[in-house]
Amino acid sequence: MLKVEHLTKVYPGGTVALKDLSFEVEDGEFLVVIGLSGSGKSTLLRCINRLIDPTEGKITMDGADITAAKGAELRHIRRQIGMIFQHFNLVKRSSVMTNVLNGRLGYLNPWLSTMGIFPAEEKKRAQQALARLGIEDKVHSRADELSGGQQQRVGIARTLMQEPKLILADEPVASLDPVLAHSILQYLEQLNKDDKVTVICSLHYLDLIQRYATRVIGLKDGVKVFEGLPSEINRVKFKEIYGEEAQDIRATALE
């Protein structure tokens, strides 16, 4: 469903964050991107929904050229791609309801929604999304009153409102404790399995990778150094991706 061809991103400062990266994603995959800090995971995910403009290369989704899209066409593509962030990126002072409704903005009348008018059925949809994530009682709370795990669930509810074909998750559990990490990833897995949403997710912990990924891509300094099944990641591969010095910390999770 997604095809990335020769993707390169050079930041204005001269940093080459991605270098000639190509891969494909099939419908229904749970693709995990791994790599050291600074290897280009966030840059890659942000190129896919064009929060960052790639320097070179082409990304297509179901035939539509994302890299060439502009204006309304780009917004149309974006609303089919949900995004979940490490720091949740909720609007802290707004209510949970407003944050969830924000996920629907791409579908709504721009003028009415700018004035804060949302149709009743959209509010109902938001309630249902929250209920699905088990936090329907928080509807009227302010986003910053919620715990980290709850905030990430609001983030997922916001994404659900987009009825996405693809979800990009940039280290969605890196700010959460291990128990919460599993519960959040299980929601993503549920969306992936039940709703047939394709997921591309960056993760740091090997136990999580092996538990949830259907396929893994490893990045190092913006270059793809691994592509395969989670079961194929062994010590040697791991060292290649994470470097010698990191092995002690990471490899324990592998054993």
Partner: protein
């Protein structure tokens, strides 16, 4: 090398205090403080202070009654009046006289300890006031009055001595000064309110143009950013007072309009700067997240930017209203109208009681606004 730097440090340590002392001496010479004068004029200061601390807030609606008594000048020009024998009454001794004579006026059974104003009712009907007096504890009155030539009887009509008794039994009412103070205070508060509102409306777009995170993306944006930023700091280098003086010369002395223009300009400049810093410090995360949902630019601003800046914007605006009320009390002194103008007029004409009333009003209003604005700001955080 090390030695030299040590010596240099030592010299620095010695030079610093010397420099500071020289600086102090210089500032004393420039500002010419004269403590002796402050002490020698203490009695005068005490007098002014006691008047300032005695604001005119209320007056009593006086209940007035008057009594009068005909005085034949010279004797025999008209018949002597029949003396009354009961009730509040007046009598004179002698009962008539010539110009230059002195009479004694007695009053009986008058209200006790009441203020009385003595006057002649001339044969022509005109009034000539003599003096104010007070009745004694028994309601009696005893006043010497000199007969003036103008009181001579004419055309068979004689002059009368009349007393008007004011009884402070009337209701307490606001004094005229208090009414004026309240009126001009309202002018000041609304002057500050209008200036703050207009200034805020101007400041909002300026602040977006002066926010580096929004503007320094393209060439045009960067140019606009630098122009607006320099403009804001240029304007902020002028005090509202200086601008008010200039505009008072243009639109007229004592007009609140001058104050409004001056305050609007300074408010726009300083809020523009404060707002832009607030815009610069917003969290990019929500902007990314809302953009990623497929929202357009306006929706992103409405849902990701506005909620982040509203509390700051509101609290800065209220804070600035507070400042503007203070400044606008002073702006009157340079001709900007409002309570300051009232105060400067009273001080210049030595009406310290009235000035005291204005000062009291300023203290109360500034205190109340201070309280109000801090409460409102607490609510918003």
């Amino acid at each position: 090398m090390k030695r030299i730097s040590k010596i240099l440090q030592l010299i620095g340590k010695i030079l610093l205090p010397i420099g500071l002392i020289a600086f102090l001496i210089f500032s004393i010479r420039v500002t010419q403080p004269d403590l002796g004068k402050l002490i020698s004029s203490a009695p005068k200061a005490g007098d002014i202070l006691s008047q300032l601390l005695n604001p005119q807030l209320t007056t009593r609606k006086a209940e007035k009654t008057s009594l009068s008594l005909t005085i034949p000048v010279p004797c025999g020009s008209v018949p002597n009046p029949e003396p009354a024998t009961s009730g509040p009454r007046l009598s004179v001794d002698p009962v008539c006289g010539n110009p230059g004579d002195t009479l004694t006026l007695y009053g009986y059974d008058l209200p006790k300890n009441a203020n009385v104003s003595l006057r002649w009712i001339l044969p022509t009907g005109g009034l000539l006031s003599i003096r104010n007096a007070k009745t004694d504890a028994n309601g009696g009155l005893n006043e010497k009055i000199e007969i003036r030539p103008i009181t001579a009887a004419a055309d068979g009509k004689a002059a009368q001595i009349s007393i008007e008794i004011s009884l402070p039994s009337g209701k307490l009412v606001a004094s005229q000064t208090l009414k004026d103070v309240v009126d001009t205070m309202f002018v000041t508060i609304f002057m500050a309110l209008i200036a703050t509102t207009l200034g805020t409306i101007i400041a909002i777009p300026l602040s977006f143009m002066a926010a580096s995170n929004l503007m320094r993306k393209g060439k045009v944006g960067t140019i606009v950013y630098y122009i607006v930023r320099s403009l804001l700091s240029l304007i902020r280098s002028y005090e509202a007072l200086v601008l008010a003086t200039i505009f008072a010369m243009i639109v007229g002395f004592g007009s609140p309009f001058a104050g409004v223009i001056a305050l609007t300009i300074t408010t726009a400049a300083s809020l523009g700067k404060m707002f832009s810093e607030s815009v610069e410090s917003i969290d990019e995360g929500p902007i990314e997240a809302v953009t990623a949902t497929g929202a357009n630019r306006l929706q992103v601003i409405m849902y990701a930017v506005v909620p982040q800046i509203t509390p700051d914007f509101l609290s800065f605006t209220i804070y600035h209203w507070d400042i503007n009320v203070r400044i606008s009390t002073v702006i009157g002194f340079v001709g900007g109208g409002g309570i300051g103008y009232f105060l400067s007029l009273r001080i210049n004409t030595l009406q310290y009681n009235a000035a005291g009333t204005a000062l009291l009003a300023i203290i109360l209003v500034v205190w109340a606004l201070d309280f109000l604005s801090s409460e409102v700001r607490k609510q918003m955080i």
